[in-house]
Symmetry: C2
Subunit: 362 residues, 2 copies
């Protein structure tokens, strides 16, 4: 049986962890932070088009203010495939709406693949093999998630504990025993020791029918809202309807709302070179193979004297003397210089700017 | 006897040690590097006008390309007091020409005070007391130099060894026993141990008559050139004459050319908070009293998290996390980040830019 796939990219994030390049008006998914000249959203699309889906089957749901930017960045994707949210109502609203829309457009047998817009995946071949395996399990009625084999006891992710193996595909598929909230460091270490836990990277695969049943069962209050929104898509009333209905939708994550409540859930270990680029230091890890012999990655005209182990972004000349382990992010209106070990504290900078009322820098 | 003083500021330097702020088109003396809003040239003038001289008796000799900039920066100084050199021919040419010009304009009894444009003097009262003492020795026929009590065995300066005390003024005046070239570290340490050596800071005071005699005796070949140049000043042929004559003048420093050959030379110890601002790190020393409680001097909108002992210049927002001992100099087209212990190596950056043919950054 030929399976029809559709990829849905939620691109509504507005994180500040890659400030000062990532801003409210251009969050990281719309920036060429990883690969000069290609944004993270574009790279997310590149991984699936055309190998897994044609551009007609690529859908994006994003903040309405970014919808035109998404259309501009995703050449070949029909404009109406990009849905703008007038306000963010968390991931259940976004994914539930897209499932309802795909049911109408492509039918309930369609396999819906949900892929965040702002992650790095260094091995697209392994990634597509994992999605193909996931699609098979999905067509057997599973809600499937890709599990990232953890490389450290990170406390910033939810974890997935695998149960019985249910397929011998490569990669194999496992029942999910349990989803775990972000753990303490000690608990995360225990998880790693067992070898049966994965990071939850927010990639979900299921038929539209399964998604629709889960929403119907666990978030039934959203059904009428989804119906009204879907009916308006492509009509002159779409904007008004979205602005009237969206703010009413319950704010809840797709994990809490349906995934953790689903009973037929599978996980596929995904050795795909995944990284959420959650800080400049994590980006530096991703770019390690682009470093020069001194461990310096420079997206800038850089002249370094005794400079090692640093990440440098600028549109202008950057010169460094006798420094090591630095993150240097220069933008036209703001410069960040951080020790690599401290780049997560950029959130303190952002908080300070908020407190000072310096909106223009956010 | 009322003494007439005239101050001559040689402002032709084009150093690169404060790159990227100091450039060929705006060397450090024309920048407000030390005091925001007031250039080093202006501060040099402020120290003598009006306490020692009226603006009519302030003269500047500089690169012709900077003459108008000097006139703009020195409000009240007559335009014709600013002499532009079409090419730099070292300090003997500049000072000898100004002595010849002052002889014509103000007479040979005038006491000529030569003050570099790009030094910091933190105690202007002590400075003026030293100049007043120097003027007295000068009126007795001495070529006087201010001697900076050395604070370290620096190998970047020439040294002056004092001999017999010749006046009990405060500060006292000494005969000069000998001028010494830039020494090795070991020799500099010996100098410091004796307590009788001073740094030569290039500040000279003598009557015009004494300067003229010294040039006449030791650099007689320049006499005709000076005469031709002085005759043209203020006439329509000034520019053409300067362009014809200047390139012919011998290139030699005033130290080698006359000062070290003079026999009646005095030195006045000058505890005046002097600093040549020869590197960003030396500037940071000068600005130490402007540092915040973390040792950070920021001429920028700066937000620091765990940031200590750093100097930051930028016209835009600069944020730093977990760094210490950094020099951060941000300009619209070039950024320098250097360890404080290495800021003198900025010359390596400048050499690299020259080698790469990147003239626009120089």
């Amino acid at each position: 049986m030929e399976k029809q796939l559709a990829v849905v990219i939620p691109a509504g994030g507005g994180g500040t962890r890659l400030w000062p390049r990532s801003r409210q008006h251009t969050p990281k998914q719309f920036l060429d932070i990883v690969t000069p000249g290609r944004t993270m959203l574009q790279e997310t699309a590149d991984r699936v088009v055309p190998d897994l889906v044609e551009p007609e089957n690529l859908f994006v749901i994003t903040n309405a203010r970014h919808a035109d930017l998404v259309r501009k960045q995703l050449d070949g994707v029909p404009a109406e495939n990009v849905i703008g949210e007038p306000v963010g109502r968390d991931s259940a609203a976004a994914i539930g709406l897209m499932a309802a829309l795909l049911e109408k457009k492509l039918g309930e047998k369609t396999i819906m693949v949900v892929l965040p817009a702002d992650h790095v995946i260094l091995d697209p071949f392994a990634f597509r093999a994992a999605i193909t395996a996931a699609a098979e399990a999905a067509s057997n009625g599973y809600l499937v998630t890709l599990g990232i084999p953890p490389t450290s006891p990170d406390t910033g992710f939810g974890y997935i504990q695998r149960g019985e193996q249910i397929s011998t595909n490569d990669p194999p598929t496992y029942d999910v025993r349990e989803f775990k909230e972000k753990p303490s460091k000690a608990v995360a270490k225990q998880y790693l020791a067992t070898g049966t836990y994965f990071w939850n990277a927010g990639m979900f695969i299921a038929t539209v029918k399964v998604f629709r049943s889960l929403f119907n069962e666990h978030l039934p209050e959203m059904e009428e809202q989804f119906a009204e929104l879907v009916a308006s898509v492509g009509t002159p009333t779409q904007k008004d309807t979205f602005e009237a209905v969206f703010p009413q939708i319950k704010k809840i994550s797709v994990d809490y709302g349906i995934v953790e409540k689903a009973t037929k859930v599978a996980v596929i270990p995904a050795q795909i070179g995944w990284n959420d680029v959650g800080s400049w230091t994590r980006l530096a890890e991703v770019l390690a193979d682009k470093a020069d012999e001194h461990g310096v990655v420079a997206n800038a005209h850089h002249i370094g004297v005794d400079t090692t182990d640093s990440l440098i972004y600028s549109e202008k000349l950057v010169t460094t003397i006798g420094v090591s382990g630095l993150i240097v992010i220069d933008t036209p209106d703001g410069l960040l210089i951080a020790s690599k070990s401290r780049s997560e504290d950029v959130k303190q900078i952002v908080e300070t700017l908020k407190a000072e009322g310096k909106e223009k820098f956010l």
